[in-house]
């Protein structure tokens, strides 16, 4: 005896499927059932048809369950939480990246103030350091601003001093470019 019989004929497969799906007429049904009395292959074909039908229904119900879950309020809430979580993660990632990126050198008034504050603080504080360095820098900057109530106007003066009077490139900028003694490592550190 073999537990795995050969694949039944095409007609038998189709008849068994229709029987299992309740698609046979009463007379066809009677004929098929009488065949089951003496034909083992017909019995096997019916078993196969029932298993196939169940597998197909299981496939379909699984797909519908996924769609239904996404469409339910709970599913939508889950999706909303997921989107929120992803957005929050991206925000933290961007914030971390920005906080660790070196600040540009004297590109605008704010960075000029930061550079000054780092120097005024008495030590060469790396602008692109870790979080503690940034906190120290922020404290030093605030202290410097409190020291001089007119710090804003003073900074404006500093900025004005560097502001170009025309579109021409100033001489000091060429001088800075020609100065090859600047250590790139230090520049990176800044």
């Amino acid at each position: 005896m073999t537990p795995h019989p050969p694949t039944p004929t095409s007609d038998l497969v189709w008849d068994a499927w229709r029987y299992a799906s309740d698609e046979l007429t009463a007379s066809e049904r009677e004929v098929f059932e009488s065949r089951l009395a003496s034909d083992v292959e017909a019995c096997e074909a019916l078993a196969e048809a029932v298993l196939l039908r169940q597998a197909l229904l299981a496939r379909g119900s699984a797909s519908r369950a996924v769609s239904r879950d996404a469409a339910t309020p709970a599913g939508r809430r889950s999706a909303g939480w997921f989107v929120t979580l992803v957005a929050a993660s991206l925000l933290v990632l961007v914030g971390t990246t920005v906080s660790r990126r070196p600040l540009p050198l004297a590109a605008n008034r704010g960075s000029a103030a930061v550079t000054d504050a780092a120097v005024v603080g008495g030590e060469q504080t790396p602008v692109a350091g870790d979080d503690e360095d940034l906190v120290d820098l922020w404290v030093a900057l605030n202290q410097e601003l409190k020291f001089d109530a007119s710090a804003d106007s003073g900074l404006d003066d500093v900025a004005d001093a560097f502001a170009p009077e025309s579109d021409d490139v100033p001489d000091w900028m060429f001088a800075a470019l020609e100065d090859s003694s600047v250590d790139p490592v230090e520049e990176d550190a800044l």
Partner: protein, 157 residues
Amino acid sequence: MFEELGRRLQAFVMGLVNRPEVAQEIVQTTFERLLRHGGGVEPESLRAWIYQVARNEALLWRRKRDVEQRAVSAIAVRPEGDSDAVMAGLLRRDEIARVRLAVSQLPQAQRHVLELRLDEELTFSEIAARLGLPLGTVLSRMRSAVERLTQSLASGN
């Protein structure tokens, strides 16, 4: 060997009685009879013997039920509820995966008919009307799909 035979036997009986719990009982009864009376059965006839005992038990149950319910065609009514869940126990994961893969590999025309029939539960006439095809074409496509899927299901046994 008997585990696989029992699984297939339960599916066979399920096709006759359409009640999973009844199918389970009939399979148990069949194997009990095998233990008590199957000693004289030739090994090459064992499978046929088991199927016939199970079939007889299933028909006996149907006759009793028909008398009780006075509904000759009640077998055609498919019960809702836990039937699919119980039957799902007969299925193996790899079978569902194999059938799912086989469905995805069906020709588009066949797959469309199959999905309309099984997933949307349309009749073949409704499918023919929706697709603008003759009924015979729809049946032919369904038949081809079933044959292919049967082969794919049997290929793993």
